[in-house]
């Protein structure tokens, strides 16, 4: 794909296989297992290539077991690839693990990089030593992060006493104290309530914009993707099923649109445009549906505006989440005809 000079992560033909023993069950089976065992190879990541540009905010999505975390582990240098090449900000992660670690920040939603028995503050102090963050940078970073994430009351609390959402705020801070160029987030919003999620999203958006940090985000929450990511990579059984901008995903996969129109009270006329289906109609409200291959949104709207007195108009398209769900469910080809039923009125 794009291998411009602007890229900060490059992945070529990357694979990671796991060998899994197929144990026989039962008493006789477990004795047989002692002597002979059959192994199968699981291709967790199967020959994928992509490159990510500086400042990108990439959503890395896929069903459970698709290989997302496996990829993130290889990108952060804690898992050795079976084959293929990775370069992250000039380093091969599993070879220059420590060097790579200085350039990246990592949050694994189910884990914490803070020290369990120590107050949050002490963990930050350790991270400052570990990453040798210069005094001024550290001060500026800490003050900014603790203010935006409202860490004040949490700083003296031992990590094991924090709630999930509180801990996540501290973990995000921990990942950013050394001002990394790239931030890897593996399900950072897992288990958070709606308010906390919103909070984290706003924060990540700010980090991406203001610090120009490249962010790779793994999540099952499609609202995260829709709200944050300029680009989506969809993984399906270890292979890339889609890679492109979030906008392009909609253009590529969704040809169908729906329009909801509210007419002025005294306008009781109907709408009839070739290739546009009137799905539902009440006295003042009309629901239309059409395929963009037949007629453009613009044409439909302008024709309606000419003929009727419109009070309100709303254009609907399916959410990214529904498109992605469709890609998971049907594979690439079938999803070309993503239908609108689920999301549209």
């Amino acid at each position: 794909m794009m291998s411009d000079d602007n890229s900060i992560i490059r992945v070529n033909n990357l694979s990671r296989h796991f060998t899994v023993a197929d144990g026989k069950s039962g008493f006789i089976g477990s004795i047989q297992n002692l002597f002979s065992r059959r192994y199968t190879t699981k291709k967790a990541v199967d020959d994928i290539s992509f490159s990510i540009a500086k400042g990108d905010f990439v959503g890395y999505v896929g069903e459970n077991g698709a290989g997302k975390s496996t990829t993130i582990k290889m990108l952060t240098g804690i898992l050795v690839p079976t084959s293929g090449k990775i370069v992250v900000a000039g380093n091969v992660p599993h070879i220059n693990r420590a060097q790579n670690a200085r350039n990246i920040g990592v949050v694994f939603g189910q884990r914490t990089q803070l020290w369990w028995d120590l107050p949050v503050l002490e963990s930050f102090d350790l991270l400052r030593s570990i990453f040798r963050v210069p005094e001024d940078d550290f001060k500026r970073n800490f003050e900014e992060l603790s203010e935006t994430l409202e860490l004040g009351p949490l700083l003296k609390v031992p990590v094991r006493k924090l709630s999930l959402g509180q801990r996540m705020r501290c973990d995000l801070t921990a990942a950013l104290l050394h001002n990394p160029r790239i931030l890897f987030l593996d399900e950072p919003t897992i288990g958070l309530d709606i308010i906390a999620k919103d909070y984290v999203r706003k924060f990540l958006k700010m980090v991406n914009k203001e610090r120009e940090t490249t962010i790779i985000l793994t999540t099952h929450d499609m609202d995260d993707i829709e709200a944050l990511c300029s680009r989506i990579i969809i993984l399906d059984q270890g292979k890339i099923a889609y890679d492109g901008s979030t906008e392009k995903l909609k253009i590529d996969y969704v040809r169908e649109k729906a329009i909801e129109i509210e007419l002025h009270e005294d306008d009781t006329g109907t709408i009839s445009i070739p290739n546009v289906k009137l799905v539902k109609s009440t006295a003042n409200k009309k629901w239309l549906r059409f395929n963009q291959d037949d007629i453009s949104v613009q044409e439909v709207v302008s024709q309606i505006m000419r003929e009727r007195r419109v009070k309100d108009i709303a254009i609907h398209e399916p959410k990214v989440g529904d498109i992605i769900k469709n890609i998971y469910a049907n594979g690439k080809a079938a999803s070309q005809q993503t239908k609108l039923q689920k999301t549209l009125p």
């Binding site: 884990r111 120590l118 503050l121």
Partner: protein
Amino acid sequence: MSSENTHTDTFPFGPAKPVYLNFIEKSFQKQIAYKFEYFVGVLNGLLFIFVFTSLWNAIYAGADTLEGSPFTRSQMISYAVFAMLFRISMTMEDNEIGRKIRTGAISMDFIKPVSYPLMLFSEAIGQTLFHWFTRVIPLSIISLLAFDAVMPQAPSAYVLTAIAWVLGYSILYIINFGFSLLAFWFTEVFSFQLMKFGLFTLFSGGIVPIDFFPDFAKPLIALIPFQYILYVPTSIFIGHIQGAEAIRLLLIQAVWVFTLGFICWRVWKAAQKKLIIQGG
């Protein structure tokens, strides 16, 4: 509130510390979180010292010497007390790596740009310092008052013991570290841990001095590193081993530190390659 206070509120950190020193300090601090465990530890130590000194007193049956024993009764009591104190001073977390590999928590350590073995070693030192201050020193004072343990007179005994203790501690640390590395290859390392525990209990000299083993066994025990952990420092401290023999044993200890250290370092290199992080 004064403006100074507000300042410390927004930036509540002291000056930056060198990383491994900071690990030592934080590990020390971490121990304080477990006050209950601490008191149990002290009581446990006291109980063990009481049991072993009583046992030796019973064996010596009031006499000053014992048939077949190179120790006088008073030396024997001192041996029991100090071997136990040294053992307590060397208490360390011995399978943290195994636990972290099983839970996958090790991934969070591996994303940090530090030497993992050095980080663990620093944490062990912090823990050990904590044990010295909070267990060994108070227990030593109690033991000197309550049991008939005798402190050495010659300053050289203290210097030699200090060296022997550091080397013995290093041997134990490296053995523990090496065994815990097995977790990179085997998901279940309990049997290895059990074997290590058995070898340590029998041959470190923590419970029975090596002198009491049958003559044919002594050269064999000298071939494995365990007696250099507790037997050598304790014997030097109570004056059972002195002079040139003490120096010779210190040298052997040093050789063990380097040999085991080298082996562990190689195993560590291989373990890193082997690295598979469990869990999602």
